[in-house]
């Protein structure tokens, strides 16, 4: 499937394209909040005041894509937590008011499918509408579903995306689970950090994907998911994805790795980059946007721009550069907390 249009709201200035011109935002703390645009011109005031951050970001990225691309057959979103801030507010109200009168807004906005639903309502889109919420594989499942819809001929053009917001609740819970560093490091020192934990990120990255296209940013060839794999499962998975797509091992010129600065997580990435693909370019992305469960959507956004020839930011994401290896195929490899592993293959 072909990426023909795309948008991103992230901790970098991706919405207004300054990032693509090489302007980088430095983050020194543990929490990388997004740079939100002014939504007032895009979203009616009456709707905006009810939206939590996840819904606001999702509509902010999805609505311009819908407005610029007519005849969308469906909307598929991936979000592990959705609008968690509203969700917890709603649950707290149930306790605080003893299951009495509850405000409808928190309830409406608390469900993960509020983003895809809101976009469908604003576009009057009555097509396929699905939201995947399965943790570190939520975005990968939107990709898989889109690939299957195209393969079966049930759609020609889809809006897909991955969204996650930082809420106090998920940050505190994940911090207690040792997901984040106790002492902050600057984001451009994150990848080579030698301590445990990562940094907390958020964002919304959306794409118009089509089954056929003559002009496009990149082609998404395949997606593969593994849960609790062993090292040999990773090797088998790489072999399988290459064979299935008729791609030779040496044709993979670039790896985009989800290295997040957690020394305990690096072993997986080092295995793939040192053992399986020792002669490829290696790029990283989590020092730009932080760690979150659907951050592979940002990796796809970044890869699509790279394959489209937009590379002003390249020096900030290159971990290993191999001379005479032009970027034609990007294999994204990511895992969330060593549980949800995934590969996404993109082609120029």
């Amino acid at each position: 499937m072909y990426i023909t249009d795309l948008r991103s709201i992230s901790p970098q200035k991706t919405y207004t394209n300054e990032f693509l011109k090489g302007e980088l935002v430095h983050h020194d703390g543990i929490i990388f909040n997004v740079t939100e645009p002014d939504y007032m011109e895009l979203i009616p005031r009456g709707l905006l005041r009810r939206m939590g951050k996840a819904v606001r970001m999702g509509v902010g990225t999805g609505l311009p894509l819908i407005q610029n691309n007519k005849n969308i057959d469906g909307i598929l979103m991936g979000t592990a937590n959705g609008g968690l801030e509203n969700c917890i507010d709603f649950l707290n109200q149930i306790v605080e008011y003893d299951e009495g009168m509850l405000t409808p807004t928190n309830f409406v906005q608390s469900t993960p499918n509020a983003i895809a639903g809101q976009l469908a309502l604003m576009d009057q889109n009555r097509g396929y509408n699905t939201t995947y919420t399965n943790g570190g594989h939520a975005f990968e499942n939107t990709l898989l579903d889109a690939l299957l819809l195209f393969e079966e001929g049930n759609a020609k053009k889809l809006l897909i995306g991955g969204i996650e917001e930082i809420s106090n609740y998920n940050y505190n819970i994940d911090f207690l689970a040792d997901h984040y560093k106790e002492v902050a490091v600057g984001n451009f020192d994150l990848i080579d950090s030698l301590t445990k934990g990562s940094v907390c990120g958020e964002g919304s990255n959306m794409f118009i994907v089509e089954s056929e296209a003559s002009q496009y940013y990149a082609k998404i060839e395949d997606v593969e998911q593994l849960t609790f794999p062993k090292e040999e499962d990773i090797e088998l998975c790489v072999k399988s994805i290459l064979e299935r797509n008729n791609i030779q091992h040496n044709e993979i010129d670039t790896l985009m790795l989800g290295m997040n600065g957690d020394i305990d997580h690096n072993v997986w990435y080092e295995h793939v980059s040192e053992q399986l693909f020792p002669d490829t370019n290696v790029l990283t992305f989590k020092h730009l946007v932080g760690e979150y469960r659907t951050c592979t959507s940002f990796a796809v956004w970044l890869s699509a721009h790279i394959l489209n020839g937009e590379r002003s930011f390249m020096s900030s994401i290159e971990k290993r550069k191999i001379e005479n290896k032009p970027i034609q195929h990007i294999l994204i490899y990511n895992h969330f907390d060593e549980v949800n592993h995934s590969f996404i293959l993109l082609k120029k």
Partner: protein
């Protein structure tokens, strides 16, 4: 000391702005006779449920009959009248 009508009116406007998350509107900018569901504030049916929740939580005043709500949730004046008549 009991609350004057003016104090109650201002307090109610603060609650309305907070509960409905009215962007860029200050409580003192809402006139007592401005229609809540007119073009000025642009409230809708979900907001009417939010207002019913507000009255219950902040003033212990319930609106059980939806038809009754149409005559109560007209403007700040009509809500203040209802609170003063029904607050225990």
């Amino acid at each position: 000391m009991s609350q004057t009508r003016e104090e109650l009116s201002l307090e109610l406007k603060k609650h309305i702005v907070e509960y409905l998350n009215l962007l860029d509107i200050k409580p003192e900018e809402i006139n007592d006779d401005t229609p809540l569901f007119g073009p000025d504030l642009g409230l809708d049916s979900i907001d009417s449920v939010e207002l019913i929740v507000l009255l219950d939580r902040e003033y212990g005043v319930k609106i059980n009959n939806p038809t009754e709500g149409r005559t109560i949730l007209v403007d700040v004046n009509t809500i203040v009248d209802y609170i003063l008549a029904n607050k225990k």
